[in-house]
Symmetry: C3
Subunit: 266 residues, 3 copies
Amino acid sequence: MKKQPISDLFSRVREKRPLVHHITNYVTVNDCANITICAGGAPVMADAAEEVAEMAAIASALVLNIGTLNRVQIESMILAGTMANDRKIPVILDPVGVGATQYRTKTAQRLLDTLDIAIIKGNAGEIGVLAGAEAEVRGVDSHGLAGNPVTIAQDFAQVAGLTVVVSGATDIITDGKTTNLVENGHPMMGSISGTGCMAASVTGVFAAESKDRVQAATAAFAAFGIAGERAAASARGPFSFKTALFDEMASLKPDDLAREARIRTG
Amino acid sequence: MKKQPISDLFSRVREKRPLVHHITNYVTVNDCANITICAGGAPVMADAAEEVAEMAAIASALVLNIGTLNRVQIESMILAGTMANDRKIPVILDPVGVGATQYRTKTAQRLLDTLDIAIIKGNAGEIGVLAGAEAEVRGVDSHGLAGNPVTIAQDFAQVAGLTVVVSGATDIITDGKTTNLVENGHPMMGSISGTGCMAASVTGVFAAESKDRVQAATAAFAAFGIAGERAAASARGPFSFKTALFDEMASLKPDDLAREARIRTG
Amino acid sequence: MKKQPISDLFSRVREKRPLVHHITNYVTVNDCANITICAGGAPVMADAAEEVAEMAAIASALVLNIGTLNRVQIESMILAGTMANDRKIPVILDPVGVGATQYRTKTAQRLLDTLDIAIIKGNAGEIGVLAGAEAEVRGVDSHGLAGNPVTIAQDFAQVAGLTVVVSGATDIITDGKTTNLVENGHPMMGSISGTGCMAASVTGVFAAESKDRVQAATAAFAAFGIAGERAAASARGPFSFKTALFDEMASLKPDDLAREARIRTG
């Protein structure tokens, strides 16, 4: 894969500072807001049915995260997502904990059926459940997926007509035709709560400035992964790692992204 | 402006540890709780209609922040605000994102109409929208205000009968008669989510111990700004800055506040 | 008290990584999630009535925290708690702010009446209020308890048939027959928001792997207290302390726990 385009995209993100509207969980929402800023975007969190369409109408991307789902939020996700679809801004779905409860699985499926989702991002278990594969999710953690995750992601992307990201040691990013594998990242990213949610936020920031969904998600995962690698170098534990993760995301430059990205085609 | 009074006020805050009741957004609520402690207060967050009046009845100040507004919270803000008004404890309003959606604008106006707000704090765009000036708010960020912000704030303060704070590189604090300009602060405060909300919390802490609203807000913005300046000196990025911001707020002494405050009359 | 059992319990926790379902407040929820991971568990936060029973059905412990109570959450606490009781997994109750408002006091009493609570953890004021002693709670802080807290805790434990933890400079842990006093901890733990909530989460992690409730809570408070002592050694203020608290909790080893625990029988 050519790296200049993702470097250029990152420069554009930093210059434009796109507004990314989130409807997300109350556990990691602060992390999502801060990583959005560090990546180069401007976050806004709003989930009241009375205002979400209006907020989505001024945003450049919409991130939907079902981490602490409730009925009011679902209604708001549909309203904001419909506005985002009308305006053709990308909608990123993070189906947190899908498979752990029927409520999460049904809601994610309803969002997929009702809205035009540009990019869905989950761990292997979550994507497996939605793709109809044999997969297990315990709480919000993946506990296995039977089959080849690349093939499952590609098939799911083609059938559902969207870009699929399976996060993991190697991130799989595919629209069913083009498949990228991102090798950046560090095991310490699994030692804190919220890195999955943050990766979706960063994806929203990059997708706001690129119509190429695979490119946007690839750039986002490479950038966030590099920040993780750099942060791990100085960390003494999970929370000093977290502190450094934000610092490194903020200081990462487009040229660094091109130089340090480890991307293979799948 | 004489600095001894704000130093004395800060000493009183640290001694009394006033209870500051917050009804606030779920994005930066943890930051608000922690900065309240670091400034010298005791935070309590409660937003259920069943208990907010009772909680406001034991508090020394009430902070209302509409960052993630919903209909339940509005009802609770009215209930708590009414109790606060009855008890004559100060109510601080942070109209986050006013102007970005009708819902926020109408709610802020309803709160201003229904309650006796002691201090309103916003960025230039937010205050401009409420003052009836030409102003733009995108998400939760100010995107410009036509006219002189000092005059706009002074006129708004006089018409609405409250103390107005316009946060920015220079913070404007006015009740329409006395106007203070606070030069403390650092650009890194804009590199993280929540500094605006935190400034409102610190204002609540100081306002709990001073009937002079302009003095309380001036002391709060000077203190928080000095903490920001000191934090920036050691920060390697936004999150190590944030860590240091709390540490510096906690270690700031009343004498330091008097010595390092940069306050002009406007 | 013999220390080998708590060291073995900690080893078991780290090996099993128990899923701890939380229904908790939106102020410190991120801290609870992260300290759960650092202690060795896997957190999941879910509070929708539609899914809480299903989530509790796959968890190994349930933590109920009433820090930002509302009527929807109460319903969910009953549903999840009933499932937890059916499955005989431990339910830990943190009655945050009990005594500050009638709503909190009545809700905590309703949870105690309706559910089989394994462990209740509060500060002296909160436990005093529920035990029927003369006690004062201001916001979420204890403001005194008339009488001997050890005796009050023991009597409450016997009458209510559960394990009682009174957190403080010396933590009191009792089921009415066995009483442990944990001397670990550091005053800086009171300089940040959320250490009380985090202690309940750590207790949930340990209780998931031990049927001996007193042992589980004792191990949890010793471990968390040691992490606090170690963190204080390097901290420059409340937030660098908080960062180190997570780091130290994650790096604490079962042998360290046995060596550094300061536990007396009461």
